[in-house]
């Protein structure tokens, strides 16, 4: 009986009808079969069951529809099997039945019946299981039609699975051994795979996709055999390694079918235990490289590596096994080989493979940074031919690759030890590089990682290149979004806080390294990056200062021997002077931005720090720079007022200056104060300068006369302001300046300045009263309140004890 090769299956509508018809016929024949069973009529039972099974001879049903027909028939055959069993109890031998069913006219029904009898036969143990099974599996060769053959063998598999001669099964022994069971399943598997592959080549080329879809529906029939093998108790590692796996792989490789290879490799990996895979890694990976080029082997290998990663994580004891079988080197070699062999593999595929390998490495060998670096290195080799990566999918995978070590170690310093890490980053385009840089900084912030060595700082800045400076291919700063830019630069600024070391020399090296990179950032970036650097350096100065102080104490109390060693150490160490040099250069750089107001503030901060260290020349230099900046670069009136206050406020606190230097700076400050544009500003700045001549701290200058001169000058300016206002606006301005100066008089009066007498104060009070009552003066309730609270204050002081009242006695309010 020829099995014809069909011209493809009929359309779906027709399928429905065909199936319905076939099911009806099966039903029909089954009815008569049941009647025969009821009458214990073996011959009729055989006749009708054969007819029923004849429906399975169709070539016209698609796999899905055939399956439905098969299931219906399967159910009926169970009844028949029960009948056969009963028959043998009634005196019929299994051997006889086995013979009888072979009289069926068509081969397919014959074989189904044979399998059914075989099931009973084996169970009866009248013949060794292995012999029956061997016979059946070979007889099934009679069906070479793919769909029919697959379902027939599937039937065989189903009825045999509980009768295999597994270790400790009831059928073991004379029935056979597990070796026989394995042999049976392997044979069935091999034949089924061949049939399955054959489907690919049937029918016209244009229906290839349809065929592949249909094949997909049948794949589990083939895969089931592997599952059965994995369930056999008697199959231990040795048997798996020596018999099962080689035979299965042989079929997989030799069938040269893309669909089958991919599915079966995946099956093997999923159904067999991970320990087996670990021990047969060579064989498995060897097979991978022999697969058809179109097979998605990277997914297969990724699956394998993922499973092994999970296995490694499950129990720490198994990690030793991994090292013992050299899993890592085998896998990494296999990855390289696959990429080499599959020339057409797209970049994203290659990177994916490396991602899977890296994940594996991080799970299994997290302590082996050299392994991690090796994986990255292999990826670098692949990327070397490519330049900057354009493909967005590949880019995404590269980001995953780079993020994995960051997430695993939670410590950027560890990641900085990976020499290949920056090399991979070089292949990212500008935008992605920046994204990665931000990810890295965020990782540092989140984990509170301190970067404590200058060479690590250097390595870090290499990774952050695109954030910190312009490069070829980066967009001009005008094109960048203002807000994004600010956010990024603020992030970089925050990073400075994490670059620190308690050892002063190392800390200084860190500062120098950071500055070197920031210098390359261009004027727009310096305003963000340099201030935190300045404060970091100022903190270092403070630390040095405190340590010097402690050393001073030590020198006094300890023995000469220890004294000697501490001075030696001092010479080698970094000194405040060196840091101040650094600070001067750094603040100077801000002129490139330009950012004069910022620079001024920073100069003054440095001056104060130098003051605290008793370094007069350095403090003077910073003041000089502050003044130069003021003169040359700050022309906005408001900014000038603020700057003058900052200068005077800082200068007032300086104790380090000798008379000459002090005089020069004070003279400059008062000079500029008097030259501010608006008269009220002038007035206030000048009276504030009075504090430059009156230092409360011990040893500070207290020049009462010059204080008074200052205040008088301020008064003159206030007068002039009044007159100007009355000329230009038609009325005098508010009297507030006079009241402010009065308060200053009171301040010095209280602090014991002899030149501020009762008379002087009284005079000013009367002046204010006159001005306020004058018609020319604008009324202003705030000024009134100010004056009132000032008078209230004076009255209050007149009540006070401790000799205060006496001083105030002469003042009348």
């Amino acid at each position: 009986m020829q099995n014809s090769i069909p011209d493809g299956f009929p359309s779906t509508n027709d399928q429905e009808k065909l199936l319905a018809d076939a099911l009806a016929l099966v039903q029909h024949h089954a009815f008569y079969m049941h009647r025969a069973l009821d009458n214990n009529n073996l011959q009729d039972a055989l006749k009708f069951s054969a007819q029923m099974l004849g429906e399975l001879r169709t070539s016209k049903l698609s796999p899905q529809k055939y399956y439905e027909l098969y299931m219906k028939t399967f159910d009926e055959l169970r009844m028949l099997e029960v009948f056969f069993k009963e028959e043998t109890k009634r005196g019929c031998t299994n051997a006889y039945l086995y013979e009888e069913v072979q009289h069926a006219g068509n081969v397919l029904p014959r074989l189904y019946l044979l399998c059914t009898v075989g099931s009973v036969y084996i169970r009866s143990k009248e013949a060794p299981a292995k012999e029956v099974l061997k016979d059946l599996v070979e007889m099934c060769r009679g069906i070479q039609h793919p769909v029919r053959g697959l379902f027939l063998r599937s039937y065989l598999s189903q009825i045999s699975k509980d009768k295999l001669t597994d270790a400790a099964s009831e059928f073991e022994g004379c029935g056979g051994t597990v070796v026989d069971a394995v042999e049976f399943v392997l044979q069935n598997f091999t034949e089924m795979n061949k049939l399955w592959v054959r489907m690919q080549h049937q029918g016209p080329a244009k229906e290839k996709e349809k065929r592949e879809k249909e094949r997909s529906e049948l794949r589990d029939l083939v895969g089931k055999n592997l599952h059965v093998l994995s369930q056999l108790e008697g199959v231990d590692l040795d048997m798996y390694r020596d018999i099962v796996l080689p035979r299965v792989l042989e079929q997989v490789v030799n069938c040269k079918d893309e669909l089958a290879q991919y599915y079966l490799m995946d099956c093997i990996i999923q159904v067999f235990p991970d320990e087996y895979h670990l021990q047969t890694l060579d064989t498995l990976l060897g097979a991978c490289s022999q697969l058809q080029p179109s097979v998605d082997v990277k997914t297969v290998m990724s699956q394998l590596m993922d499973r092994l990663s999970v296995y490694a994580a499950s129990a720490p004891e198994v990690l030793a096994e991994f090292s013992q079988v050299e899993a890592f080197s085998k896998l990494s070699e296999a990855v390289i080989k696959v990429i080499e062999v599959q020339q057409d593999m797209p970049l994203v595929g290659a990177v994916c493979l490396h991602v899977a390998l890296l994940t594996f490495t991080l799970r299994v060998h997290a302590d082996r940074l050299d392994y991690v670096d090796q994986v990255l290195g292999a990826c670098v080799k692949k990327l070397n031919g490519v330049g900057k990566v354009n493909d967005s999918k590949a880019t995404k995978q590269i980001i995953t690759l780079l993020s994995a070590p960051l997430e695993k170690y939670n410590n950027v310093v560890t990641v900085l030890n990976l020499t290949n890490y920056p090399k991979i980053m070089e292949h990212l385009d500008y935008g992605t590089n920046k994204i990665m840089a931000v990810v890295i900084i965020q990782s540092i912030m989140k984990n509170g990682t301190f970067i404590m060595e200058a060479d690590k700082v250097e390595a870090l800045f290499q990774l952050l290149k695109e954030l910190v400076q312009d490069s070829d291919g980066s967009p001009t700063l005008d094109e960048l979004d203002e807000e994004d830019f600010m956010e990024e630069q603020n992030l970089v600024a925050r990073l400075v806080q994490m670059l620190t070391n308690e050892d002063n020399d190392e800390m200084f090296k860190i500062l120098i390294t950071a500055k070197k990179h920031f210098q390359k950032g261009g004027s727009k970036r310096l305003g963000y990056s340099l201030p935190p650097l300045v404060f970091s350096a100022l903190k270092l100065v403070r630390r040095l200062q405190e340590q010097d102080k402690n050393n001073e104490v030590d020198k006094v109390t300890f023995s000469p021997q220890e004294q000697g060693s501490s001075t030696e150490a001092d010479e080698a160490n970094i000194s405040p002077q060196k840091v101040f040099q650094f600070l001067l250069q750094t603040v100077d750089s801000l002129s490139a931005v330009p950012a004069p107001e910022l620079a001024l503030r920073l100069y003054l901060q440095c001056a104060e720090a130098a003051n605290d260290c008793d370094l007069e020349p350095i403090a003077y230099e910073f003041f000089t720079q502050a003044f130069v900046t003021y003169e040359e670069e700050i022309s906005d009136s408001k900014a000038q007022v603020t700057s003058i206050h900052l200068i005077v406020g800082t200068l007032q606190r300086m104790h380090v200056f000798g008379v000459e230097n002090r005089d020069t700076l004070t003279h400059k400050a008062t000079g500029y104060s008097a030259k501010l544009l608006k008269k009220p500003d002038q007035c206030r700045a000048v009276y504030v300068c009075s504090h430059l001549f009156w230092i409360e701290d011990e040893g500070g200058v207290q020049d009462g006369e010059r204080v008074l001169l200052c205040l008088k000058r301020a008064l003159r300016i206030a007068n002039a302001a009044q007159q100007m206002a009355s000329v230009t606006k038609g009325s005098g301005g508010p009297v507030t300046l006079f009241v402010e100066i009065l308060n200053k008089y009171l301040y010095y009066f209280e602090h014991g300045n002899q030149h501020i007498t009762n008379a002087v104060i009284q005079g000013l009070i009367e002046l204010i009263v006159t001005e306020m009552q004058s018609e020319n003066t604008t009324q202003d309730p705030t000024v009134d309140a100010f004056f009132a609270s000032t008078l209230r204050y004076i009255r209050f002081q007149k009540q006070k004890g401790d000799g205060v009242a006496e001083r105030y006695a002469a003042i009348e309010v």
Binding site: G527, P531, F535, L538, K539, R542, L598, R601, L604, Q605, E608, A609, K638, V641, T642, H645, L646, V648, G649, T650, Q652, R653, R684, V688, H691, E696, T736, V739, E740, N743, K744, Y747, E750, H751, T782, A785, F786, A788, S789, T790, R792, Y793, F796
Partner: protein, 132 residues
């Protein structure tokens, strides 16, 4: 009401500003403080308090916490919330201040982070009943 400082090193500091608010029966004045020289000098701050005619003066610039009560009112410098570097003081414990106003009573709660522990202190001020 909470008070804390914004750093003056940030771009475009508009620290010329002063503000006077009325909350309940109290007048508050807020001012950055760099214009009051000598910095942190209480007598000079007193003058500003008189000038603004406020019961409570809140000021900053020095990063150093200070609270000072006198017959005219209270002067508060809440310090700096982040403990950032200050040239004025070596002691940069982060701090902030909460003020509670209830009728004529003002309570200032000071929170300082010293050695990893939060220390809280309290200052009471009662405003004199206005006469007449």
């Amino acid at each position: 009401m909470s008070t804390s400082r914004k750093g003056s090193m940030m771009k475009t500091p508009d620290i010329q500003r002063r503000k006077v608010l009325t909350i309940g029966s109290f007048k508050l004045g807020i001012c950055h403080g760099h214009q009051v020289i000598p910095w942190g000098d209480l007598d000079s701050l007193d003058m500003l308090q008189r000038q603004l005619d406020v019961d409570i003066l809140i000021t900053g610039h020095t990063h150093q916490f200070k609270a000072y009560k006198h017959e005219g009112g209270v002067i508060i410098n809440p310090g700096f919330g982040t403990g950032a570097y200050s040239s004025i003081t070596y002691n940069v414990n982060p701090s902030f201040v909460l003020t509670d106003i209830d009728g004529l009573r003002l309570v200032v709660y000071v929170y300082e982070l010293i050695g990893g522990e939060v220390k809280v202190d309290k200052i009471d001020f009662k405003k004199a009943q206005p006469v007449g």
